[in-house]
Amino acid sequence: MTYRPGTALGLKEVELTLFQKLIGIRWLLLLLVGGVVAVGVIMLYSAGRGRFEPWADRQLLRFGLGLIAFFVVALSDIRLWMRYAYVFYAFALGLLVLVHFAGTVAMGAQRWLDLGPVNIQPSEMMKLALLIALARYFHGLTYEEIGRPHFLLIPLAMALAPAALVLKQPDLGTTLMLLAGAGAIFFLAGVRAWKFILLIGGALSALPVAWNFLHDYQKRRIYTFLDPESDPLGAGYHILQSKIALGSGGVFGKGFMQGTQSHLNFLPEKQTDFIFTMLAEEFGMMGGLALLALYAGIVVHGYLMALKVNNQFGRLLGMGFITSFSVYVVINMAMVMGVVPVVGVPLPFVSYGGSAMLTLMIGFGLLTNVYIHRDVPIPQFGASH
């Protein structure tokens, strides 16, 4: 099948100039993202005991690389993403399989592919590839078709295959994020509500079975989530120390670089998963709420952008991404505050990590892309043809 834009339904072909595209970029969104990144760099500077090494400088560098990726993605033609959606997905899935056989083991999990000069984390790539592939799939379905169960089998398989591979690594956090992103798209595409209820009910009844497949450390995390004080020096240590750091921060915090919990290493993983705790210790509830407000600004902005998109592929992709993004934020914060078990989800843009930064910037590039191309008609084809 050859793709000729706009011909299938006889729609007028729309071509945007580079200038038009640049005008279309929502610079406020970029500013808000920059603000969150700045918070991250400041906290990494503090985590490095008042030095840019080893985290803050590299985080900044990655943000710079991410910005380039953002612009490349944002200014590219949306139809390219549409066309290569499955190819991209297949590529990411292939890498996930590869990582299963040839991945580098780090910290007890096999997540990385060693490609000489760079290590890549295919599960990060899959976060976006899955969203794009699902958006394309549902783009091609009518509302009626979505109502028919057999049309849901393919996208379900598309979501579950990478989730299973990632769970095997093992990486429970990313698995959940993949499922959350896929779920968001299913939901937005109009999959009937009772099917979700059925699915959730089925998942709940399968929990006892799934429990047996969990690794010991994962089981322990759930135990300690339920009662962190039961083992304050063992598995409950992370949650307890994180709550102590947060609570002792109070309303206004202990001051920049004055966090005793984080600087004396009582707080684990302060530069990655628990960086929000460090922020809330040093800048108190005010700092925490300010960051939360920044995130809220980004999410609301992204939501409004996605709403304006007039093609199904674009709005599913945009809304799916911004929903995934907000889930990352919520899960991470809830985790460090002891509301949900520790599952290893970094705080977007703030936690130290190169792969995540790149994924997020490409993701926001895609959001901007679909916003810029909101009026570009995309013929409906795919599953229904």
Partner: protein
């Protein structure tokens, strides 16, 4: 387009649903922040401080032990030592090899160091070498740049500058044993040492001082980041003894090589100026750790270096007891000073014959003063038979025998002052008349320690009921010195035995004419004693009887001499015991004379300008 609109309306509806869900979640997060950071904040602030702030106890500096003039008998000496911090050293074995070029480190030591490093966290310093000399310490300082991880430290260890001479008196400190723990956290400090013997043990509380404390900030693995505050605590109080260190050393030198005891006491205050027991032992190994070999050596030494003979050695007083028999007779009215007994060298009681030390023809007829001067046994057999043991025992107790003074040293023993009831209770036998005779010359059941006989001499000479004491002050506080009451005995009776004692040394027929002091040092009054070795104390039995080649020595009499001076206004009394010395006049009296001469030379009431005292060139505190 219908299809498109329906998809879009579903999308918008559901997107709105998702957004409200997110808003709800954000509210939950903000609420949780409020709960943790406002409502529960105080509790978590406390927990955070508990995390990071550790209290550490700081061992206080132990008080010194001084003689009456401030001479240090126990102090805290610098301990120059090298420590190693494994994490800074990197390759520990390599650093130790380089260290060996400067100071010796044995293979055994190296194994210990590596073992300790393995046991502790890598930033905890481990001792490498202790007690370095200044030269070694300086050399290490120069080499320090090439010895990563090596730390040089000036620590403190307990030092006993006078060593053996004061070993029994001062005792020693050693590591806290399980049984010593009282719940005082100070005792649980690593490296803490407490008094285990002598004054160190009995004055341990004041010497210990009050522990200081330090608040430090630590990180999650316990590494100290910085000190927050420090309370130095209080160093232990200095304890000043009544002992005159110079005199003690002189006396110890004088009896060096013997198994002996010398006690010098102040007749007015009861303060002990000298409390020597030889041989002593080196207290340092007891502090740092005693080897099995050294311990065996000390235990099997026939001269019993571990026993403080001055207070723990119990011997029959022999003829030194005769003054008390005389006093008992005088007070009971059964004899007057003019009571005469004819000595023919022996006396018969029933079928048994009791001998005088002077064989036939004996001393002839003697009055009481002469009997003391010549130490006639027959005279005192006669008195004892008349007076009976119970009156003698009562007098003995009044003069300090058969009791413990609790002078504040471990191991003080009460001796034995027998009575009729005692014998009945102990042996189930009646008191025989022959027992009276034996007691009359200080043999038989009577046992006394050198300290008791020194007190006896002080009470006889000074006429005051002095109580011996060894501690003069604790910290800045001079211990109260209650005035000793006058002895409850008629002065004229006391005068008789005092006259007798003066004649023992200065009379024509005295048994200790050799003990006469040079004229310028005053008149010495004394009494010899030689006690037959019939009872051998348990310790002696264990350590001596085994060795055959020593038997002749072991069978010799113990030599006693008790005395006081100056005779007219008695101020100092002395008791000398030389175990198996042979005779009191031969072995003990000359020692007592020299010691008393030294005492008199030191007496500020008598001292003349330009006179030299023993140990004068010592660096002294006063």
């Amino acid at each position: 387009m219908q299809r498109e609109t329906s998809r879009y309306s579903v999308f918008s509806r559901r997107a709105a649903l998702l957004m409200s869900g997110k808003a709800a979640l954000a509210t939950v997060l903000a609420g949780r922040m409020y709960y943790l950071q406002v409502i529960e904040s105080d509790q978590y602030a406390v927990l955070a401080d508990e995390n990071r702030i550790h209290y550490r106890m700081l061992a206080p500096q132990r008080g010194r032990i001084l003689d009456r003039f401030g001479v240090e008998l126990a102090n805290n000496t610098q301990n120059l030592r090298a420590l190693i911090v494994a994490e800074q050293a990197g390759d520990v074995a390599k650093v130790l090899t380089r260290l060996r070029d400067v100071v010796p480190v044995g293979d055994h030591e190296e194994r210990r160091i590596l073992r300790e490093i393995k046991r502790r966290r890598s930033f905890v310093p481990v001792s490498v070498v202790e007690n370095l000399s200044w030269e070694q310490f300086a050399a290490l300082n120069v080499h320090l740049p090439h010895l990563p991880g090596i730390q040089l430290e000036i620590g403190e260890t307990r030092g006993y500058p006078k060593g053996e001479t004061f070993s029994h008196l001062i005792g020693y400190v050693a590591a806290v044993a399980e049984a010593d723990l009282t719940g005082d956290p100070l005792l649980e400090l690593p490296g803490m040492k407490i008094g285990k013997n002598g004054v160190e043990k009995l004055q341990d509380e004041p010497l210990r001082g009050k522990a200081g404390s330090q608040r430090v900030e630590v990180n999650a693995i316990g590494r100290v980041i910085r000190e927050l505050s420090r309370d130095h605590g209080e160093r232990g109080a200095d304890i000043a003894l009544t002992i005159d260190a110079g005199l003690q050393e002189y006396a110890a030198d004088r009896v060096d090589g013997e198994s002996a005891s010398v006690v010098v006491i102040d007749c007015v205050t009861g303060e002990l100026l000298t409390l020597v027991s030889v041989p002593g032992y080196d207290p340092t190994p007891f502090t740092t750790g005693l080897s099995q070999r050294l311990w065996q050596e000390l235990v099997s030494n026939p001269l019993a270096p571990l026993v403080n003979k001055s207070i723990a050695g119990q011997y029959p007083p022999g003829s030194t007891f005769k003054m008390l028999v005389a006093l008992a007779a005088l007070e009971s009215g059964l004899a007057t000073p003019d009571h005469r007994v004819g000595c023919s060298g022996s006396i018969e009681l029933g079928t048994h014959e009791f001998h005088c030390w002077k064989k036939k023809p004996g001393h002839g007829a003697l009055r009481m003063v002469e009997a003391i001067e010549q130490s006639c046994d027959v005279y005192f057999y006669d008195l004892a038979r008349k007076v009976g043991i119970d009156r003698i025992a009562e007098m003995g107790r009044r003069f300090g025998l058969g009791q413990s003074f609790r002078i504040g040293l471990p191991g003080e023993r009460p001796g034995l002052m027998p009575t009729r009831d005692w014998k009945k209770a102990t042996y189930g036998q009646p008191w025989h008349p022959g027992d009276n005779l034996n007691a009359g010359i200080g043999q038989g059941y009577v046992l006394s320690t050198p300290l008791q006989l020194a007190v006896m001499a002080a009470r006889l000479g000074g006429g005051r009921m002095v109580t011996p004491r060894v501690v003069r002050s604790v910290g800045d506080m001079l211990l109260p010195r209650p005035e000793a009451p006058v002895m409850a005995i008629k002065p004229e009776f006391l005068k008789v035995v005092q006259d007798g004692m003066v004649r023992v040394v200065n009379g024509g027929a005295g048994t200790a004419k050799r003990a006469k002091l040079p004229d310028n040092l005053g008149v010495l009054a004394g009494k010899t004693g030689s006690s037959q070795v019939r009872r051998i104390s348990k310790a002696e039995r264990q350590t001596r009887v085994r060795k055959n080649e020593e038997k002749p020595w072991i069978e010799r009499d113990h030599a006693w001499f008790v005395c006081y001076a100056p005779a007219e206004t008695p101020r100092y009394a002395c008791c000398v015991l030389v175990e198996h010395g042979g005779s009191g006049s031969g072995a003990a009296a000359p020692v007592a004379r020299d010691v008393m001469a030294e005492v008199m030379r030191r007496d500020p009431a008598r001292r003349m300008p330009g006179e030299r005292m023993a140990g004068q060139d010592d660096k002294r505190g006063a």
